[in-house]
Symmetry: C2
Subunit: 135 residues, 2 copies
């Protein structure tokens, strides 16, 4: 236990952390009209369904309501050439959901694109970090 009488170290306000090295992250969005068709949130949701085998568990792991998760997946299923998520009936766990081949390919392509972009732009991203004082 810390001694409550010991002098506290001065706290830096949360707004001051310029010593942290910057982290670069690409996010790809595909929009159709004014609406997001595929973006980071939907891909994370697909990955969570892939891991957990359940929309309920996937939604919970992302702090999302079941209703919202279901609506996002339903929207994706309608947009895609073929459904990306399907129900699994029966089995030891009484059913659940899993990615279709199209869903697997969607996730794989999306993550591959992010990695390709990060590699292609590595040098310029370092230059950008250097502008922020982190060579």
């Amino acid at each position: 236990m810390p001694d409550p009488a010991a002098p506290k170290a001065p706290e830096l306000p949360a707004t001051q952390a310029p010593e942290d090295a910057p982290v670069a992250r690409f996010r790809l969005r595909l929009t159709q009209g004014a609406r997001i068709a595929v973006g980071p949130g939907r891909i994370e949701l697909l990955e969570a369904v892939r891991e957990s085998g359940s929309i309920t568990a996937a939604a919970r792991s992302l702090g999302m309501s079941y209703r919202r998760a279901w609506m996002l997946l339903d929207d994706l299923n309608r947009r895609a050439r073929a459904p990306v998520v399907e129900s699994v009936h029966g089995g030891a766990q009484g059913g659940g959901s899993r990615l279709t081949d199209t869903g697997q390919e969607l996730v794989r392509l999306y993550r591959h694109i992010e990695q390709t972009a990060a590699r292609a732009c590595g040098e310029d991203i370092e230059a950008l970090k250097a502008l922020l004082g982190h060579p």
Copy 2:
């Protein structure tokens, strides 16, 4: 003028526009700790200052309060190796703001990175669009 008595074409609800071809957009974010250091919003703001020569006009063109624009630019000025925006005093218009060389370079690099990423991933992005039924 359209004939008001002519029968109207049935309107599709706004949620149904799957015939729109998808548009892909990369967005790059540099974070430091939990905070955004550079992202699309700040770059748009810098570009608006560059075009208008004024933080007030830039904020207005982006539908942002002057206070928010000022705080974002102040934060960038503190994070960057050198300030990105500076005040201009005097002149016919009684002063304003402009990008420094560092600010110009920040915008140029950021937009260049987005373009490089889009080019490097062109083929995979087409494959992703094809998954959405738009080959």
